[in-house]
Assembly symmetry: C2
DNA sequence: CAAAGGGCTTGATGTTCATCAAGTGAACGA
DNA sequence: TCGTTCACTTGATGAACATCAAGCCCTTTG
């Protein structure tokens, strides 16, 4: 499938490629192809050799890990996101499986071309380092969340974060099935149900996938969110990478403006 | 404290600086200084602004996170290791605290100088991206370990990994206090004790910090180690970064040789 | 329309884990 | 040498969580 110019532009607008020349960008996207996958498609299996950098342009992708017949969701991605960047940079096997939760448009860029381009274009290499730093910090947050908080607290903070990211309205819709959310939060679907029931006492009402946070202050007193774990950055218009999500609020006097 | 030439050489030998020119290296290390810290010194507090890239040259450093009066160990570093690289690249606040467990020699490199050098030297920027990828993959392993395995299984796998890294002998010494190990494995010291007691039935004997794995096959049947979670790479002679630890075993036909 | 399936919930039960409390042993200092 | 301290251990108890089982509700399908 050849790429449409519109898709190419969305990729060009990624922070990853913001500072690289047209020539380098053409080189990286030369052997690229765009593919549309139905829901539930496994794109990558744990341990598979990784030859491409994936870019999610539309849809939802879940990253998961398995061991001993158990599986857990490590991340749920929304557009525009790159994934398995670390494996591509190291030319190593992937540590996570990836599968679509909804029909998804996914761009695949040659890993070898990307590595080659990085070695000649410091701006691109720096942007990759920034993106990886953002991914790394996201994982640090996840790990702290997992090790330091209990199930109800994790859910409470997830809801607070979600509310902010979706615009701040007291009522919003969960972006995916509850069973996926349970796995993401490191609990069983049964316990997620019970956690929601517990949060009812804190003003959280649920009707299907619709959640209403009735008394934000009460919920916050339980959740105790902190910028050292929770990234409350709202989703902005343009396509942003994981790096930019970590640069907020921009500390005065450093980082790029706005 | 000015740097001794011997220390400078150890830094020069880091994979991070393997491919960069002497001029760039001089630039990055220009404002650097080496400092010796006693045990138990807090080098960095969660949320602190990060101005330097830290390089552990000697000693042991613990990275930890806290929330709600609880704390957990995220990583225990041994020489030669860099830390808080992601925060430096993004010029962001640190998400983890760092403190010495033993007397440690630590080199501090100007973060600004590093970022500047990366933007002009693609080899350096690429090396930073590789190191970050290694750190990222380490965290993915940790998170899978935490979410998918129980306490006893985590300990069993830790011991197997440790045995291999320390040379493969059936008897070896734990590299730090058990309370730190407990926190690293995400449990209380009490439960770590009980987990050791459980492993006695699987041929694991302990005498203080000395551990003997009597029946490796039996322990492995319990631990079910997998390269998708456990990195069994033995510690090699030269100074290696997190990136090289992730490139093993080097898949035939790609990556650098040996 | 009826049946079937799947996601979600609820209850009962058992396992895992944290907490509290007390005790052991070894290193250290007066 | 005798306390003191601190890491570690062991036991008892309770909280958090997983598992098993059943039922509900909504959607899908014949």
């Amino acid at each position: 499938m050849p790429m449409r110019p519109a898709d190419l532009e969305r990729v060009r607008a990624l922070p990853l490629f913001a500072e690289c020349s047209d020539a380098v960008f053409r080189d990286v996207t030369a052997g690229a192809f765009l593919q549309r996958f139905p829901p539930g498609t496994t794109l990558l299996l744990e341990g598979d050799r990784v030859d491409f950098l994936y870019v999610l342009l539309d849809g939802i992708v879940e990253l998961e890990g398995t061991w001993n017949d158990k599986e857990t969701t490590l991340s749920v991605l929304r557009p525009v996101s790159t994934f398995i960047l670390a494996a591509v940079v190291l030319d190593a096997d992937g540590l996570m499986s990836a599968r679509t939760l909804e029909r998804s448009d996914i761009l695949m860029l040659s890993g070898e071309a990307l590595r080659r381009a990085m070695k000649s274009d410091p701006g691109l290499a720096f942007a990759v380092a920034e993106e990886l730093s953002g991914c790394y910090r996201g994982l640090v947050r996840t790990l702290k969340n997992q090790k330091l908080r209990g199930g109800v607290e994790r859910l409470a903070n997830y809801l607070i974060t979600q509310k902010i990211r979706l615009g701040g309205e007291p009522t919003f819709t969960l972006p995916h099935e509850k069973r996926v959310l349970a796995s993401l939060l490191g609990m069983t679907p049964e316990n997620l149900s019970r956690a929601f029931a517990t949060l009812a006492d804190y003003g959280v009402q649920t009707k299907g996938a619709e959640v209403t946070i009735g008394r934000p202050a009460v919920l916050e007193r339980l959740a105790k969110p902190t910028p050292l774990i929770d990234n409350h950055q709202p989703v902005r218009g343009g396509p942003t990478g994981k790096a930019q999500r970590e640069r907020w609020p921009a500390p005065a006097g450093r980082g790029e403006a706005a």
